[in-house]
């Protein structure tokens, strides 16, 4: 029988920013390791979907694709590849954890709840950014779109991922029934792709839908990304940043209430 040297029976209580950063780092390691079977596949799907969306977009048109549509496609598809992990995949994984009864173990881990979110955010970036880059390259090659990538692409990318992660995290944790959160995520994705001014100008939408979209985050995601890629946009860029910040705060607030709720 091996002799196992145990640490002290009374562990010290941990708090403060250094411990928080440590918790974030180790939770990110856990997240990446736990999803290592999915991450390469998911990243590949993101790249293929981004490229496929751009190439397939041209097939909607029998003649030359209008210049405006080309620009919206080339700048909108990267946004879709960025938000899809946080908005769709994240609540699905949380739902799977609930169905597999592993959720409670993860909730009992002695780390700040925010560390769990940060680890998800890191994974969203890791999986989403390659797809975003691939779709930008595909847009340039397919349509010859000339984009001017500015430094603002960094905060735009970070914020799109942050907003989608916050909303997805909130849905995953706040909605008790996994099936409901999964359907909700799919509906949001459907609305974002087909009925929001991400990959099309708001002017092409019915007035009521354009008005509705002014309060939703999807159009603003497109606005800040187009601005960062050097495309003139009719919408206020600071306003779009502010709206996304608001959605991020709302998502994080709802998520905080959900993960700290005790039945």
């Amino acid at each position: 029988m091996a002799t196992v040297a145990l640490p002290a029976a009374t562990p010290r209580l941990r708090s403060g920013p250094v411990e928080w950063l440590r918790s974030c780092a180790v939770m990110a390691r856990w997240q990446l390791a736990s999803l290592r079977l999915f991450i390469p596949m998911l990243a590949a799907v993101e790249v293929l979907a981004g490229v496929g969306f751009v190439l397939g977009f041209g097939l909607f048109f029998t003649s030359r694709v209008p210049a405006t549509s080309v620009v919206y496609c080339a700048t909108g598809v990267p946004v879709i590849t960025l938000y899809i992990v946080g908005l769709v995949f994240l609540p699905q994984v949380v739902g799977m954890q609930k169905l597999a009864h592993t959720y409670e173990f993860l909730q009992s881990e002695p780390v700040p709840r925010s560390a769990g979110f940060v680890s998800w955010y890191a994974m969203n970036l890791l999986v989403g950014v390659p797809g975003m880059v691939a779709s930008l390259i595909a847009g340039w090659l397919r349509f010859g779109v000339s984009l001017h990538v500015s430094a603002a692409v960094i905060p735009a990318t970070l914020l799109v991922c942050l907003t989608s992660s916050a909303i997805g995290f909130a849905m995953g944790h706040a909605v008790a029934v996994p099936m409901v959160s999964n359907v909700l995520a799919q509906v949001l994705n459907f609305v974002a792709i087909g009925f929001s001014p991400i990959a099309m100008p708001a002017g092409q939408l019915p007035d009521w839908l354009a008005s509705l979209n002014r309060g939703l985050p999807f159009g603003s995601m497109g606005t800040i990304m187009r601005s960062a890629l050097g495309v003139a946009t009719p919408d206020s860029v600071p306003g779009a940043y502010a709206l996304l910040a608001g959605w991020t705060c709302a998502g994080l607030l709802l998520a905080a209430v959900a993960v700290m709720r005790r039945g």
Partner: protein, 347 residues
């Protein structure tokens, strides 16, 4: 354990279980630590209004292995989920040393380790990686965690699966890896919900050794189980809970004081045999499947054996065994139901 076997092979599962569990526990912790105090804990679920805990009060000392026994739905898991901070009590208090765990669930998560009954999320993790990462999440120093991971793998004889992914582990091995995950950097209180589920007898014994070692090093161990025979040998004290209430609490021996002059007669009935008519000497009896257990006065042992032999000769029973009363008998008396062991044919 005294055991007198009938004509067929002996049905002495208590002895077998005793061998699995090993020698009885003696807590050796004499240092300081945090005492878990649960006072008048009540939990009523809002949905359905089910009263899961109804005024439970108990204490677990540092270094003590404390068993929570009770049938399914008794309220054991609800109780420990409140300790770990996953559920909020309707009323009552939970303190660990000076810390109010109800008011500060994040402190509860840091000071308590919890092995739930449900599977752990390790499908994509290597066994040693899962243990090590959990140790780091629990705040352990990297070098200490790595060393103790290796030691736990050796102690639980998991070396063959050290680099196996969770998807390739059997249920029992996954359970042992889960145990190692929650004890690699143990809290002041370690809560283990059915830790031996699916574990083979050999490694079950190793697991009990490690559980006792946690106690010896000053951890309070709360062991949730409905396996009474194992608990009898493994815990320092125990509580029997049913319908959300704490029915009795004490050492395993104290539960058997009342029945020191009694014996338990175990009969393995033939499948589908009707309940035999009980002789007047039987104090109480219970049947689970084909297992019939009757508690009899020690003075009437000869008469009881003759009755049992007649049942075997008549073809009503296949075999019988006579032994000292166990905690199981006290459990049946208190809850009116056999434990898991009874269901599995223990006597």
């Amino acid at each position: 354990m005294t055991s007198v076997n009938g004509p067929a092979a002996g049905v002495a599962l208590p002895k077998q279980a005793a061998e699995e569990v090993g020698t009885p526990v003696t807590a050796t912790w004499t240092g300081s630590g945090l005492r878990l105090c649960v006072t008048d804990l009540r939990k009523t679920y809002k949905r359905g209004g089910v009263v899961a805990n109804d005024g439970i009060t108990l204490e677990v000392a540092p270094g003590e292995v404390y068993g929570l026994l009770g049938p399914n739905g008794a309220g054991k898991t609800t109780l420990v989920k409140q300790v770990i901070g996953l559920l909020k009590p309707t009323s009552g208090t939970i303190h660990l040393g000076p810390h109010d765990l109800v008011a500060h669930p994040s402190v509860a998560r840091q000071l308590c380790s919890y092995l739930p009954q449900a599977p752990l999320p390790i499908d994509a993790l290597h066994a040693d990686e899962a243990i090590e990462l959990t140790g780091l999440i629990r705040g352990g120093e990297a070098a200490t965690v790595r060393r103790r991971t290796g030691e736990l793998i050796e102690a639980l004889q998991l070396d063959s699966w050290r680099r196996s992914l969770g998807t390739r582990l059997s249920g029992g091995v996954r359970r042992l890896v889960g145990f190692a995950m929650v004890t690699v950097s143990p809290g002041a209180v370690v809560i283990l919900d059915e830790p031996t589920n699916d574990v083979d007898p050999l490694r079950r014994r190793l697991l009990w050794n490690e559980i006792r070692r946690l106690g010896e090093r000053g951890c309070g161990v709360v062991l949730v189980t409905h396996n009474v025979l194992e608990a009898e040998k493994a815990v320092d004290r125990l509580a029997i809970i049913d319908h959300g209430r704490l029915l009795a609490e004490g050492t395993p021996s104290s539960f058997k004081v009342e029945s020191r002059d009694q014996l338990r007669l175990h009969l393995m009935l033939r499948p589908d045999a009707p309940d035999p008519e009980m002789p007047g000497l039987v104090i109480r009896s219970s049947r689970t499947g084909n297992n019939l257990v009757a508690v009899i006065p020690e003075a009437d042992a000869a008469v009881a054996i003759a009755w049992a032999r007649n049942l075997v000769d008549a073809g009503t029973a296949e075999e019988y065994g006579l032994g000292a009363t166990t905690l199981e008998d006290a459990y049946i008396k208190l809850t009116g139901r056999a434990s898991l062991d009874g269901e599995n044919g223990g006597s």
